[in-house]
Amino acid sequence: MSITQFRTETRAWLEANCPKSMQKPVKKFTDLYWGGSKPYFDSEDQKIWFERMYERGWTVPHWPKVYGGGGLNKEEAKVLKQEMKALNCRPPLYSFGISMLGPALLHFGSEDQKLQYLPDITAGKIWWCQGYSEPGAGSDLAGLQTRAEDKGDHYLINGQKVWTSYADKADWIFCLVRTNTEGRKHAGISFLLIDMHTPGVSTRPIKLISGASPFCETFFDNVKVPKTNIVGEENGGWAIAKYLLTHEREMIAGIGEPAEVPLHQNAIDTIGLSNGMLADTILRPEIARWSMNNEIFKMTIARMLDEAKQGQSLGAKSSFLKYYGTELNKEKLELKLAATGQTGLVWEGEAYDDGHLPKYFCRTKGNSIEGGTSEIQLNIVSKHILRLPS
């Protein structure tokens, strides 16, 4: 099928099959279907949308069909994404299994592991969470201390993870653990899959400045994990961690609410125009500067993806994308607050969208911390792209 034909047919199918209520911007957690062993659908439409897309393999359109994906090539997947964006279609299934673990398994997993885990991810049967950071290992991630002791047929896990997204809802966790305490700290880390229902695993949600609790602390107290749950080689987990972080960074880079009202329109709505120009003459150039940078940055994401060969990661370039995208998003929310004044600071009340704006504003402050801080990203660009000495 030609790509033009694919586009036409895809558009027609989406128009016929995506329920109208699934063509609205995602505003809250339950606007997305997350899957898991205790699935929760916010509406009948959400369920229908998920099932129709899953049937075509389009919950994860670019994965091979044998793993439950849609088997689309890079160009087709791009077209599907564009057409979904044009109709404002919500993703039918959202999970860290799709965005994080899946790519790692495809790259580093054994064939058995791929067949065991990937189809469940595309079907949304398992809710995965990520166990990377620890109280003492944030920017210095390789300093992590959660211990996996070799006990013959299993590992015994003891330690604590932090910032585990939705660990209180998750079924499984993909985790970085220390399997060797000697030598270089990077060389003693393994990538381990752990069933959260195993005795000894417990979680505690963390309340954030936004008022929400998407993150948890996760504790491991003498948790037994089969040795077959290791991905890649023992002590070879750092390469997987780095690979996954580049994926996460690419994902965070494209952050921002899709198909929303443009920033300048927010400002026009609240401040108004004078002689055809934004009445706040100080805010006007700030909004224009942001909008120009935002428009150009989207071209950069597109260009870098165009330049990368199919299936290849962007490597250290993803650090720049993550840095720039998150700084832009933070700046946008600052400008939104500036444009809305006191009204934008009301924290509760239906008339004020339940405080979506100030809460999201608070949330964005984490954008340049999670997945590696802005400062860490700049370090990576300096070292791996600019080859500056350390």
């Binding site: 934004l278 224009a288 950069t300 597109a302 330049e307 400062e375 700049l378 600019l386 500056l388 350390s390």
Partner: protein, 372 residues
């Protein structure tokens, strides 16, 4: 369209890089400056550039051109930006040829375009009337006098004004209608005052006193739209040149801080410099994206060109300023010396920033285009 160069465009860029490195490096500009060269560019280099087809890239085949497109011309401009090569590429090829392609009669094209393609004719656009870019703010007047037109006024900062064979002059009549005219540089009443600019490149004031011409360019009274679209193309082309200048200044600076030692270590190992370097890297990546997108928009005759042109000129202005300033700072004292070439990049950047509208001009224009 994918934001990547075609194989042919990449080959053109590579060959331009080779040639310019050898025959028109920064040292050549220094020589032109130090010798107070009469022409301000090297005619034999220009002839060679024309022989390689660089002056013909946007000229239709019917008039001796290659019809290769602006994305290709952009690659040449980018490379001349790296070497700071002084040549009539911007005045004659990027700007005047664009105006001629869009508005000239068949006879005018026949007379001018093959000569431009051969590198034998220089044409400059006499447009601005003050130091600040305001292309439609015109006081130069034209009146009809029988078969000819009579022009009066003062044009400023005309690129290659003192070496041009012909001018394209913008002027207004009593009804405020804008028209363009072709005027010979040696016509009676034309007076040219060469300027010495900070970047050692050519610019001149051109005054017109009762100058007669019978060569109208395009339709009388419809000059404004013609000026705007042609300037948009020139803005993108100049942004491509600035991309080369900015990248070269950045790469030289990175080489310098990898080598330069203080406190017993390379200064490039200091995080205070690394984070600024990484930030500049990112902005340059953004510059590459907008320049390529805007060049492709010219070739695709896109309705988005005005917005993309302003985005390109603004972003490149902003980034060229950032990078050339940081370059001098990173070089330290040596960056302040005339012996070191990095200062040439700072000087060229500032002039290029002002030419065809600076950051503020295009930010304002972008906001207006978006309804605020």
């Amino acid at each position: 369209m994918a934001l990547v160069l075609t194989e042919e465009q990449q080959m053109l860029k590579d060959s331009a890089k080779e040639y310019l490195k050898e025959h028109a490096p920064v040292a050549a500009l220094r020589k032109l400056r130090d010798e107070r060269d009469e022409k301000g560019y090297n005619p034999s280099v220009w002839k060679a550039m024309a022989d390689m087809g660089w002056a013909s890239l946007t000229i239709p085949e019917a008039y001796g051109g290659l019809d290769f497109g602006y994305t290709g011309l952009g690659q040449i401009l980018e490379e001349t930006g790296r070497t700071l090569t002084a040549s009539p590429l911007v005045s004659t090829v990027l700007l005047s040829t664009t105006l001629l392609n869009k508005a000239a009669s068949d006879a005018q094209k026949e007379a001018l375009l093959p000569a431009i393609a051969a590198g034998e004719l220089l044409v400059a656009f006499a447009s601005e009337e003050s130091g600040v870019h305001r292309p439609l703010h015109i006081t130069t007047s034209y009146t009809k006098a029988g078969d000819t037109y009579l022009l009066n006024g003062k044009k400023q900062f005309v690129l290659d004004g003192h070496v041009a064979d012909k001018f394209i002059v913008s002027a207004k009549n009593e009804e405020d209608a804008i028209s363009l005219f072709l005027v010979d540089a040696d016509a009676t009443g034309v007076a040219i005052e060469r300027l010495t600019m900070m970047d050692s490149r050519n610019a001149a004031h051109v005054s017109l006193k009762n100058v007669h011409t019978n060569e109208l360019l395009g339709v009388a009274g419809e000059g404004a739209a013609l000026i705007e679209t042609s300037l948009d193309i020139a803005r993108v082309g100049l942004a491509a040149e600035m991309l080369g200048t900015t990248q070269e200044a950045f790469e030289r600076t990175m080489s310098y801080i990898r080598e330069r030692k203080q406190f017993g270590v390379p200064i490039g190992s200091f995080q205070a410099l690394q984070h600024r370097a990484a930030t500049m890297y990112g902005e340059i990546e953004n510059c590459k994206s907008i320049v390529l997108a805007a060049l492709q928009a010219i070739d695709a005759d896109s309705e988005h060109l005005p917005r993309l042109a302003s985005l390109a000129k603004a972003k490149l202005g902003e980034t060229a300023q950032l990078v050339t300033n940081e370059a001098v700072q990173f070089y330290g004292g040596i960056g302040m010396t005339d012996d070191e070439e990095i200062g040439f990049f700072l000087k060229r950047a500032r002039v290029a920033q002002q030419t065809f509208g600076d950051y503020n001009y295009h930010l304002d224009r972008y906001a207006k285009m978006n309804g605020y």
